[in-house]
Each structure stands twice: as C-alpha cells, then as structure tokens.
C-alpha cells in the first residue's frame, strides 16, 4: 500500500497503519541517530520523539510529499539537536573506539585526520562534525547544502571534510592493496 493511503488510514484512526508506514524506516533512522549520538538510550529517545512528531504531523493534516526523505531528515535534525545538547552538557563524551585493531572507515579517517592535525600543530578539526558529515552525506544521502545548514558549517567546510575523507580512504585502499601484493 502506498504511503499516501497509509497516512489517510492513520488519520481515519487506524493506528496499525502507522506501524506499517514507519517500520521499514526505523532501522535506518535509528542507525543514523546512534552513529551521531553514540548512545543507545539517546538514539532510542530521539527516534521515539521523531515518531511522535511524525504521528502528530500526520494527524494534523500536514501535506507530506516524500515521506522517506522527510522522515530521515527529521531524525537527522533531531539527532543533531540532541548531539549539540549532549556536547554542551558534556555528560556523555563521544567515544571513539581506538582500542581495536580493525577500524571502520569513519574511525580510521578520523584518526588519520586527527594525526595530521597534530603533526601540523593545529587542532581545528572537530571530529564529531567530521563524522556527522560522512553519515549524512554517504548514509543519509543528503545534499551538501542541507548538511551545511543542519550542522551550521560552511558548504566549503562540508566539501573539504568530504574531500579529505575520500583522500584518506584512497590512501588506505592503496596501502591495503600494497600489503596484499607483498604478502602473496
């Protein structure tokens, strides 16, 4: 059933239509939120609040054209809001897992960039901003302009984060290939 029809059913009081509408989107929404907040509890709370917001918007008759895009954008916004609040409170510092041997791409790119910054003697790079840019661009597939609005960064900064991430990945891929050749 299409999303329009589901929204209509929700407005008619068929609550089960709400689960049908949002269930396919919850996983990606939660993963985005968790990656930004690095806290299960906070991410769950953010997604819960977003679901309520969605429900109320539907019930109040809001015209929602591209539901999936709208939902993911809402979750991203609320996650960034919570993340801002969290970093302000400094109650739950961001954890970057440096203890394991195998880093995911975001962590390795972050690590590399941080090391570069340290080498250069500057510490301007905000790791969390960096991580959020990558999640929003590559996982949520949001346009650069929207990411820059959402994070309050200049679009040139967003582009430069992306460029540096690509370069870091390229470097890593080449290194891996090199190691691969040598070990054979």
């Amino acid at each position: 059933m299409d999303q329009e029809a589901l929204m209509k059913r929700i407005r008619n009081g068929e609550d089960e239509a709400f689960a049908q509408l949002v269930d396919p989107l919850i996983e990606k929404g939660y993963r985005t939120s968790f990656s930004i907040l690095r806290s299960k509890e906070l991410a769950e709370e953010v997604v819960q609040n977003a679901l309520i917001e969605v429900y109320r918007n539907i019930m109040s008759g809001k015209d929602i054209r591209y539901f999936n895009t709208w939902f993911y954008k809402l979750v991203s916004h609320r996650s960034i809001d919570a993340w801002r609040k969290m970093t302000r409170l400094k109650e739950s510092p961001l954890e970057i897992d440096v203890g394991t041997d195998k880093h995911g791409v975001m962590e390795s790119v972050l690590k590399e960039e941080t090391e570069n910054e340290i080498k250069k003697g500057i510490s301007s790079l905000d790791n969390s901003d960096y991580r959020n840019v990558l999640i929003l661009y590559y996982y949520q597939e949001q346009p650069i302009q929207e990411i820059s609005d959402l994070l309050g960064l200049k679009s040139t900064t967003v582009k430069s984060h992306l460029r540096r991430a690509r370069n870091a990945l390229k470097k890593r891929l080449i290194e891996n290939q090199f190691i691969g050749v040598n070990t054979q």
């Binding site: 709400f18 509890e41 769950e44 109320r56 109040s60 990558l134």
Partner: protein
C-alpha cells in the same frame, strides 16, 4: 569502483553492525497512546526539554499533580494516595513526598521535583526557590541530605540535581499562563459550538483536545473547528484531537498509584536493571511489561528476574492492592535487553 561508492559501501557495512532495538517497533505500534501520554504531560519549555518523557517521568508529574490539584486526574486519587501500600517493606511513601518532607524539615523552599530518564538513568531534579547564588551555595548540603535519604530507602540508581527555579520561572510562568488561557478559551469555544469536550491541554506545542470515544466520528470536524477558532483568535497552533475511552481511563486511574509504586522501586535500584516499563490496559486484563538491560546468559539474570517477578506479584496480590484494582486480572512479562520474554 569509484571512491564515493567505496566510501558509501564501507559506511553502510559499518552501519549494518548497529542493532535496532525492537522496542522501537513496539513504540510505533502503540503510537497513539505514546503520543497522548506526551501531549498531556509534557513540560512545554525549560531545561528538562531533553529528558526522556518516560512513564516514570509522567508518573512523577502526575503524582505532583495529585498534590496540586491537577485537572488531569480523577478527584478521588488524592484520597487514594494516602491509602496506597507500597511495594516491598522498605518504603512507605512515594519518594517525592519523602524529599518534600525532608526539605520542609530543613527549612528549604522548593518549586517542585522533576523526575525523568536521562541517558538511561533515573534523574531527580530538585528545584529550590531562591537566587542563583543562594541555590549554588546550598546545593552541596541539599545533595548530601537527600542522598542520605535515598540511600536509607535502598535506592542506588539515580542522578540527583539541584537547580534554582527563579532563573526560568518568570518566562515559564508567563508562557504557561498564556497557554492555559488559550486552552480554557478553546475548550469553552468548542463547547459553545456544541461539542462535548473532556479537556483541552495547550501546554505543549501541539494543543491536545480530548473528546469522548463515542464522538470519534466527529474527530475531523472538531479538529477543523479548533483550527478555525485558534486562527480567529490569532493564535494558530497545531491541534491533535484525541478520543478517550472512559473505561480505559478509569482503569488507568485505578492502577495509577500501583504502577507508580512499582516504577519507583524498580527504576531506582540498580540490581533490577530496568530499562523501561510498559502497560496495556484492557478490561479483561492489565498487562505489565518490564524491559530490562539483562541478557539471558548473564550470571545473575535468572535470579534477578525471579526477584522482579516475586516483588511485583506479591505486591499486586496483596489484599490492599487487590481492593484497589478490584481484583483485576493482570499479566506480568519480563523481557531481556533485546525485547524477548525471559523463559524463566
């Protein structure tokens, strides 16, 4: 493969390792109840905006409401509040009352207590009246006194905070007053237009209009009328019309103090490792689901689950509680951290 595609692929693989809690799907299933709950009791502004509005928080706010004559509650509840037995032998009174009494004894003036969940932990915020300097100066002393009180009750799972009420209260007060006026006006306007309205809550950004479930067919009509009235008064707002099932509400009222008592005991003690408690109220059966942070394979899980069951069952089967719930049938479900029912 292009570098962008590789990046996308790697990030996607990383993301796929993140497990989505099943409770979110449950939440979506119960969206109407969840939304109603928050529409009714959310604090509109202020420092606690980021708090998780769990039932625990709701319960605390309702509990305070009992004392201050909140419009949301059945009037007999205040009387009930003084008669209710509490879970376990340890505590005799709800914790907010104990805190109020202690503060009274020590000569402090307070505005209220906020209770909620923050980052998975119960959070108790005591709002003291006085200047910022005064509250800062007294903060440590108050924390020491209250920590001792909570410890005596056997509670070891909470964050305690003292804040001053003067900093935000003038703004809060003004906005709340305006919103209350708006709610009252909308209610009388809608009643004037011939609709049966149970109550209107304009304290949260979305104005909630409660109607009897018998009038569900008029939901859209009332919604439109409310929007028009708000527009005509130059106070456009989002509106949600919520049909309320009087029977279910009555059932909830009957169980409210019982649930509050269970929540306080389970949330404020580390040993139970409780993440959330959910209810479903049906005339044939009330269902209580205790969601924990435990894995079935962990060493003490079985013992802890048994303890949770014993505490709740003994409490619910006590004569006093049975009188209160009118011997209502109930079921108790205890779940692991992945939302699966424990088999033991």
């Amino acid at each position: 493969m292009k570098i962008d595609d590789s990046m996308k692929k790697e990030i996607k693989e990383e993301m796929e390792k993140i497990q989505t809690p099943s409770s979110l799907y449950e939440f979506a299933k119960n969206i109407k109840d969840e939304s109603e709950k928050r529409a009714g009791f959310e604090k509109p502004i202020g420092r606690k905006r980021g708090w998780r509005k769990s039932k625990f928080a709701v319960a605390a706010i309702i509990s305070l409401g009992i004392l201050t004559g909140s419009a949301f509650l059945n009037p007999t509840m205040a009387e009930m509040a003084s008669k209710i037995p509490y879970i376990g032998q340890i505590f005799q009174q709800p914790i907010y009352e104990v805190i109020f009494e202690t503060l009274d004894k020590e000569g402090y003036k307070y505005g209220g207590i906020g209770m909620g969940m923050w980052d998975g932990k119960p959070y108790i915020d005591i709002e003291l009246k006085g200047t910022e300097e005064y509250v800062k100066q007294e903060e440590e002393k108050v924390l020491i006194i209250l920590t001792e009180v909570l410890e005596k009750k056997g509670y070891d799972n909470y964050k305690l905070k003292v804040s001053d009420i003067n900093v935000v209260s003038p703004v809060n007060k003004e906005i709340n007053e305006k919103r209350e006026e708006l709610g009252e006006k909308l209610m009388s306007d809608l009643q004037g237009a011939g609709y049966t309205i149970m109550s209107v809550n304009a304290l949260s950004p979305v104005v909630a209009v409660y109607i009897p479930i018998a009038d569900k067919a008029k939901e859209v009509e009332i919604y439109k009328a409310a929007i028009e009235l708000l527009k005509a008064n130059d106070t456009p707002q989002q509106v949600q019309v919520i049909p309320r099932d009087a029977l279910k509400e009555e059932l909830k009222s009957k169980w409210f103090m019982v649930m509050r008592s269970i929540e306080e005991e389970l949330y404020l003690k580390k040993e139970y490792q409780v993440a959330d408690i959910k209810y479903s109220y049906k005339p044939e059966k009330v269902s209580i689901t205790v969601m924990t942070n435990m894995e079935p394979s962990e060493v003490n899980t079985e013992e802890t689950v048994a303890k949770i069951r014993k505490e709740i069952t003994e409490f619910l089967d006590s004569e006093e509680v049975k009188i209160m719930t009118e011997n209502q049938e109930y079921e108790l479900i205890v779940q692991d951290k992945n939302g699966k029912d424990f088999s033991f």
